[in-house]
């Protein structure tokens, strides 16, 4: 039976009003509502679709963080993952991408996952490094920023999103790691019966204290909201010019 892994992160609801914390390096966590990182929803959906395609496969969902992240793991279980692994870590928000990637790689090394799915980046930290570093630590290929995905007998064929709206067709053989871009698929709703059934699925807790973590290579010195300035961009030229510029902007953002 093939084994699949999807790595997810819990982030604050992006509609929240963020306050920088007292030491000025992260946001204040009190009074925030928490969600699954949006990119990871696409990763979970793709992993579940692959599991359904394979028929026989076991999908594990892994999340690092304090106790509250269990809720997000349960969402992934309700979307179709088979078992949850919670790496209990109250300090996860202080760790650099290499430390997080090392924890995931340590966990994944002992199992042989055919495929590992992650989001392209997190909505709060946004380093876009964790997935790629996990692949490197495990010595497997990484395909990033996927907007299309197909798997057939050990080969992934996928499209990556490039700047300016173009796409690259890439393929590689498994085991491999893929990072998922928004729009890769349509993440399913965790239906109420599936939310209820998820209660009965295995959710194991692993303390991270036993792991040897690499020393931090990055440290956040300070975090602050950008200075306020007008967000409008004025397009100039004759009507045809302006229309072309506008079309280019829209195309780039899509």
């Amino acid at each position: 039976m093939k084994k699949l892994l999807v790595c997810i992160k819990q982030v604050p609801d992006m509609e929240s009003r963020f306050k920088v914390n007292t030491d000025g390096t992260w946001y204040e966590e009190t009074d925030l509502a928490w969600r699954m990182n949006e990119y990871d929803e696409y990763a979970v959906e793709q992993a579940v679709q692959l599991k359904e395609q394979l028929g026989e496969a076991e999908l594990t969902v892994l999340c690092i963080g304090p106790d509250r992240v269990k809720e997000t793991i349960k969402k992934a279980l309700a979307m179709g993952a088979d078992r949850g692994v919670h790496m209990t870590d109250n300090e996860s928000h202080l760790r650099d991408p290499l430390a997080i990637a090392s924890m995931i790689a340590d966990f994944a090394r002992q199992q042989d996952f055919e495929l590992i799915f992650t989001g392209m980046q997190s909505q709060d930290r946004g380093s876009a490094q964790v997935g790629v570093l996990v692949a490197e630590l495990l010595g497997i290929p990484a395909l990033t920023t996927l907007v299309e995905f197909a798997y057939d007998q050990g080969t992934i064929t996928a499209k990556r999103e490039l700047e300016g709206g173009s796409r690259a067709l890439v393929s590689c053989s498994t085991p491999a790691l893929v990072t998922c871009q928004l729009g890769l698929n349509r993440p399913r709703y965790p239906t109420l019966p599936n939310i209820m059934k998820a209660k009965k699925k295995e959710l194991a807790s692993l303390p991270v204290t036993d792991l040897k973590l690499p020393p931090a290579q990055l440290k956040t010195a300070a975090m602050a909201p950008p200075p306020k300035r007008g967000s409008a961009r004025i397009l100039e030229g004759d009507t045809g010019d302006v229309a072309a510029q506008l079309a280019a902007v829209i195309k780039e953002k899509m």
Partner: protein, 381 residues
């Protein structure tokens, strides 16, 4: 004491909100305007999300979740569209729940399972033109004839009427018995000979939810469609409505929440006298009062639902929650229109619809006056 929602409640709230925002909200104004019930969106999609049988055990096609989950689902739907909220509430707690509470195993298999799965839509018919608050005044008759019951009379103001497939109908089966004891409950399927639909109401609010008259003209149903015991109908209706009130209370809460959020956003954007209007204390105090009333209503509604889900008595709490949340919905939506000024009075903004929708919550499933009467009389008994 613990006020925290379980992870399951939070996940289901997020799921229903996500669905409501992306699928229900976009057509809410149009459906209101054209008085259009969209069965696919307002019922079949709910079935796909597992919401049509929230509180029933899995063996009866339900999700095996609790009353609080049910309240949260109705609240979240009503936050964007009160018509969708009441469709679920009337289906689940009025149409399906009496079958769960009083049905025989055979009736549960035949009627409850498809209702819970959302294959059929349910409705509940108690009110008549002459029997509103005084539900014991039911005049529709049921006469036993061999292996059948024959129904004659009419019911009005029936939510989901016309579109529903399965109806719980209260009728007088014993003309000689004392008023409340002569009533029985029956299961009537759409399409039965002698069962017709009369006038569809044209309403102030919840216009996307159909409200219809039912007419029984020598309508013959099999004897096995008697729900519970003969003469137990009034009791069945009252117990059914106790649970139903949690749904209406949640509907009122959701309407208030939706109007409140719209008002806060508008108060931050709208500028007069060179400043956002929330900077006027007169506006800000309104918002503070709305927020506080909603919070109080939510605590009452969730408490009633929590009691119902934990097997504790809840009739009194559900009555208080329904009455209070309905009054809050009316006050909050009225003030939300005020915050929007002239724009709030137009159909270009949703608070106009929400104010019209709020009014019904003070009227149906027991008017607020009747609730005050019942709560009050229990205090001096």
């Amino acid at each position: 004491m613990d006020f925290a929602l379980h992870d399951e409640h939070k996940l289901m709230r997020d799921m229903v909100r996500d669905f409501a925002e992306t699928e229900v909200r976009p057509s809410a104004a149009e459906r209101d305007e054209s008085e259009r019930f969209d069965r696919h969106l307002m019922f079949e999609r709910l079935a796909e999300l597992g919401l049509t049988g929230i509180i029933f055990p899995e063996e009866y096609g339900g999700a095996g979740a609790d009353y609080l989950s049910y309240a949260i689902a109705v609240e979240e739907l009503s936050r964007v569209c009160a018509s969708t909220g009441v469709t679920l509430s009337a289906h689940l707690s009025l149409g399906a729940n009496p079958l769960y509470l009083f049905g025989s195993e055979d009736q549960k298999q035949r009627f409850l399972v498809p209702l819970a799965r959302g294959e059929t839509l349910g409705a509940f018919a108690l009110t008549e033109s002459g029997a509103g608050s005084d539900a014991g005044g039911t005049r529709t008759t049921a006469v036993r004839n061999g292996d059948s019951w024959i129904l004659n009379g009419s019911k009005n103001f029936i939510t989901n009427g016309g579109d529903a497939d399965t109806y719980i109908v209260l009728a007088r089966s014993d003309g000689s018995a004392e008023k409340h004891r002569g009533i029985s409950a029956f299961i009537v399927e759409k399409g039965t000979d002698g069962f017709h639909f009369g006038k569809k109401e044209r309403k102030l609010g919840i216009r996307s939810s159909p409200t219809m008259e039912l007419v029984f003209d020598n309508c013959r149903i099999p004897a096995c469609n008697l729900l519970g015991e003969e003469g137990q109908g009034f009791k069945i209706a009252m117990i059914t409505l106790d649970g139903g009130r949690i749904g209406i209370a949640a509907q009122a809460l959701g309407i208030a929440q939706g109007a409140f959020e719209a008002a806060v956003n508008y108060a931050k954007e709208r500028k007069q006298f060179d400043q956002p209007i929330h900077q006027f204390q007169g506006v800000l105090f309104k918002l503070a009062d709305m927020a506080t009333q909603i919070e109080a209503a939510r605590l009452l509604v969730y408490q009633a639902a929590w009691r119902a889900g934990n097997g504790l008595s809840f009739a009194q709490q559900a009555a208080m929650a329904k009455m209070y949340a309905a009054d809050v919905a009316m006050q909050v939506t009225t003030e939300a229109v005020q915050v929007f000024g002239g724009y709030g009075y137009t159909r270009d903004f949703p608070v106009e619809r929400m104010m019209r929708d709020a009014k019904i919550t003070q009227i149906y499933e027991g008017t607020n006056e009747i609730h005050r009467l019942v709560i009050g009389s229990s205090l001096v008994r």
